[in-house]
Symmetry: C2
């Protein structure tokens, strides 16, 4: 009983701090022309371990915050258009191959440059490969630019990049335990994940009108919202049994429902929940980090090069590929910027390498710094690039390369 009481008080405190301080700082961010999510991140930094240390991060709060960002991706899925997304999957695939390879290579080269052996460098490559676009998506929702060719590309590449990152880590683990790559395992994971994803999206999309029609006929209050949330939660849960992040399944569920009749009204009801819980997420990630402990002078060059590598890998890989397949320069840059943020996967890769003794704490700390800097600066660059440059010409884009929007 007492543990439960402590837990509820911590949750209430975290929520009140994240919501009041977070939203006031979001407002301030908007006034000085920054994206609102900066307010949440800054709030966490001030209230958390780095400075005031009054913001609690219990496991319940972490779980709920993570649920919040899963819900945010579900909401983003509902705001995408199914047909446009599916038609352009090939294009997203090409960009993913480009950006994943480039980012991994840059990481591998940095590792080699600092004298790490090949397997260690492999994991440094994995650390820099994995994108986590939550902060980009929140920013795009806030500035109303999610439903743009670049916004869709960022979402599409994020889905596929998640798979790429997973494969990289699996291959790395296989290299650690057996010294060789198990190709059967890799193919198995690739096939099951992709099959699961498509099965989920296509089946749910076909059933979406029927489900929503039935759900809206329920006589209970908030029935349709509850059923839709229940289905989303179940599909995200089902990823427990395949090698896929719940984030990706959540996005898929939203995407599959995005063209059903009446989904707009339901998305409108889910929006406050998604935005409130994701505020908890963005506040918690910076709150749990003690920036004072991470910044250590002896590794400053390594850190700087690591951050630089995190940026150049994605900008070169995603930017160049996007440009080559037909996006104008400004669009290619927008897409690349959206892919800069790293989060969970980056930390996981660093953690796996660290616990396997492939490198010391310096890579783990560097990964934390990359997470921190990419999440803090990306929203600002996204806002600048998406609001100042020209809107890209949908028609011209379609004519040139068959890209449809």
């Amino acid at each position: 009983m007492n543990g439960l009481e402590e837990d509820i008080y911590s949750l209430l405190l975290a929520l009140s701090l994240a919501l009041v301080i977070g939203k006031l700082l979001e407002d301030l961010a908007i006034r000085v022309n920054l994206p609102p999510v900066i307010g949440d991140l800054l709030g966490g930094l001030i209230l958390g371990a780095s400075f005031l240390a009054i913001y609690p991060v219990t496991s319940t709060i972490e779980t709920l915050a993570w649920f919040g960002v899963i819900l945010l991706l579900f909401y983003a899925g509902m705001e995408t258009r199914y047909r446009t997304f599916m038609r352009n999957l090939g294009i997203y695939g090409m960009i993913t191959i480009g950006e994943a390879l480039a980012a991994f290579t840059v990481g591998y080269l940095i590792g080699t440059l600092f004298g790490y052996p090949p397997l260690s460098s492999f994991f440094i490559g994995a650390v820099l490969e994995a994108t986590s676009v939550s902060v980009s998506i929140k920013t795009l929702i806030d500035i109303g630019k999610l439903a743009t060719p670049e916004g869709y590309a960022i979402l599409g590449v994020a889905v596929l990049d998640d798979l790429a990152a997973l494969i990289t880590i699996i291959v790395g683990k296989s290299l650690i335990s057996k010294g060789i790559v198990d190709p059967i395992l890799v193919v198995e994971i690739l096939v099951t994940s992709i099959a699961f994803w498509f099965l989920l999206v296509i089946t749910l999309h076909k059933a979406s009108n029927v489900i929503l029609l039935k759900a809206m006929k329920l006589r209970v209050s908030e029935g349709a919202v509850a059923i839709v949330l229940g289905i989303f939660a179940f599909l995200a849960y089902a990823t427990k049994y395949v090698e896929l992040s719940p984030l990706i399944a959540a996005y898929a569920a939203g995407l599959a429902l995005s063209e059903a009749r009446g989904v707009g009204r339901i998305a409108e009801r889910i929006r406050p929940l998604a935005l409130i819980l994701s505020t908890l997420y963005f506040t918690s990630i910076t709150a749990s980090l003690d920036i004072k402990a991470v910044v250590r002078s002896e590794f400053i060059v390594f850190y700087l090069l690591f951050i630089l590598g995190a940026v150049t890998g994605k900008v070169l890989g995603a930017g160049l590929t996007s440009y080559l397949i037909g996006f104008p320069k400004i669009s290619a840059l927008r897409i690349a910027t959206g892919l800069l943020p790293r989060a969970e996967f980056c930390i996981i890769a660093a953690y796996v390498g660290y616990t396997a003794g492939l490198f010391g704490g310096e890579v783990y700390l560097a990964a934390i710094l990359v997470v921190f800097t990419t999440n803090i600066f990306t929203p600002v660059i996204i806002k600048t690039l998406f609001t100042r440059g020209p809107e890209i010409d949908y028609v011209r884009l379609r004519i040139r390369r068959g890209l449809s929007v």
Copy 2:
């Protein structure tokens, strides 16, 4: 990382089961003319420990479910009218004294009847005293009868009964540890709790228009909803430092904001969140209970008398007092029924007595059975009494006893 993953999957599973199965059973309940909350309770019973055992109840889910019911009381507060409630507080006070004394006495007598010593009987009285009206409030919201004189009375008495239950438990603890009642402690707790409650309600009520006006001027999306939720969470958190349940503070916060300009639109945005999370609560409470383990034949008479006592104490105490101060018979019965449900406080009292060695597991199990039966049957009786009988005559009521609505 792994613990967090397990935790998120459990949460997703619980949410999907509670929302989909819960809402379908809610719909079924409505079709057979039962209150919807029965669907949630039944869903938990089927999915939980008693039968299928597929519904997880982790500490994160318990915390979130409890947060859901705190939020439900906040929402109920926003749906009340401040002035009406405050004007009638004296009346609610009289009903509370009647129902608390009667329920306690019935419990004490049952204890004595079964041969328990006085201190043990005192705790059996405490077990039967404490009301937890969440299920009544959910039912009243669902059938649209919260804003009635009886609905307000149930809410008002619930607030004061919480205080009465607290005092009973404190006195009991004092009797266990010192053998005597510490009157200074009792007065201290009474004064600080009541002072905190009034300070909270009156201050926030005075500031409510200004706060909402400022919150609605924020340029961030869902800003006003977030600020209002943040304030609610903070006030519920603040009860950590006074002897008051966060439920009561949540209700007070809602009540204080209930007449501010623009609060209706905010309440409308909070409603899905409150109803969805409280579904998680109602499903979880029956899911965590293994009804097979509780029903043991050797105590069957004791159990039955215990349940009977739980009902008669409240019906006699609250019903009679309400009738005597001017409510018509049907209203008095409605109020009494709304006060039947027991939950946390009842279990806490039983747990304290049990761990102090005042009685064996039989009282603890009886308390669980009381929680179970009162929560299952009350919604049905409430629905019958509130929808079949006449609406009470507001004007006549005011003229007769100064009661205003």
